[in-house]
Amino acid sequence: MTDKELISGIINRDNVAIQHLVVNFHKKVIKTAYYFVHDMQDAEDLAQDVCIEILESAKHFKGMSSLNTWIYRITVNKSLNFIRKNKRKQLFSQIEAVFMNRDGSHAVERLEPSYIDTKFDDGERKVLLGKSINTLPENQRTAFILSKYDELPYKEIAEIMNVSLASVEQLLHRAKMNLQKKLIVHYAEYSTKKQ
């Protein structure tokens, strides 16, 4: 089924087309949403919203980009909106306190030699990573997730984000540098907390 056939089937509410949409895109949409929100139930709800949006907006799809790109764009927008609206609900913001010292200040960046014995487990690493990614600016975060998690080529990321290829490269470079910096700070903070 081509993009055009699928879209026209969706507009006509054809069951075969809707089934095709679900089989081919649903899992991808859930996973991408999960990479943003880090919660499978929220990701599932978001994927439902994305599919409803596809049904509602199919008549406006002009075919300027591929259907795949269009669906990714809807997924990214829905996920970012969800995060904006549910900032308090976010798993990683809830544990913010864990990373703060008792006086409320952030731990020093310098990692003292005595802290190097600190052992992290994968659960803690997952939290550190999620927190670090979630504090990246939205466009850096989107570029990073689409590149590192979804493994999309730069060209497709550029189309989804509606920016140039050079911008994607720049955003990714900044995202990696920021993430590296944030992770190092978090290792130090968390080491201090665990002592």
Binding site: I18, A43, A47, Q48, D122, K126, L179, I184, Y187
Partner: protein, 149 residues
Amino acid sequence: MNCTNFRNSIFSWSENDFSAFSAAELEAHSKECADCSFLLEEFRKTMAIIEQEKRIEPNPFAETRLLQKLENYKEAENWWDFPVPKPFLRPIYLGLGITAAILLGVVMGFEEGGIYLNLTSKITNIESVRSELNVPDIMGEDIIEFSNQ
């Protein structure tokens, strides 16, 4: 190579990008600096989490739930989906709507007016009011006398 240089190169190193520093320089520093060595190891383990997260699978019932949701959406859509007239037919639809509203108003007006007319005609007929309210004749005479005074 100092600690800052090393820490700024960890991500590049993990992606085999040696444009700033060679692998040999980075390895030499990580061997002599316990802090940076620890950070490098932790960074690699943290990045491995991305690979773990990529393998996560959605709930097997998620697809069924979605199909049900889309089915419900379609049904709700049909329920609310009134036929939208073609642009050139819209004035006719509008005219028909206004005519229907006027007719409805007239019919209702007649009904309401009819009740009112019936009531007033009954009230003017004092005998029928008296019989409907079971008013004894004597009382009527008192009222008349009172009103005459």
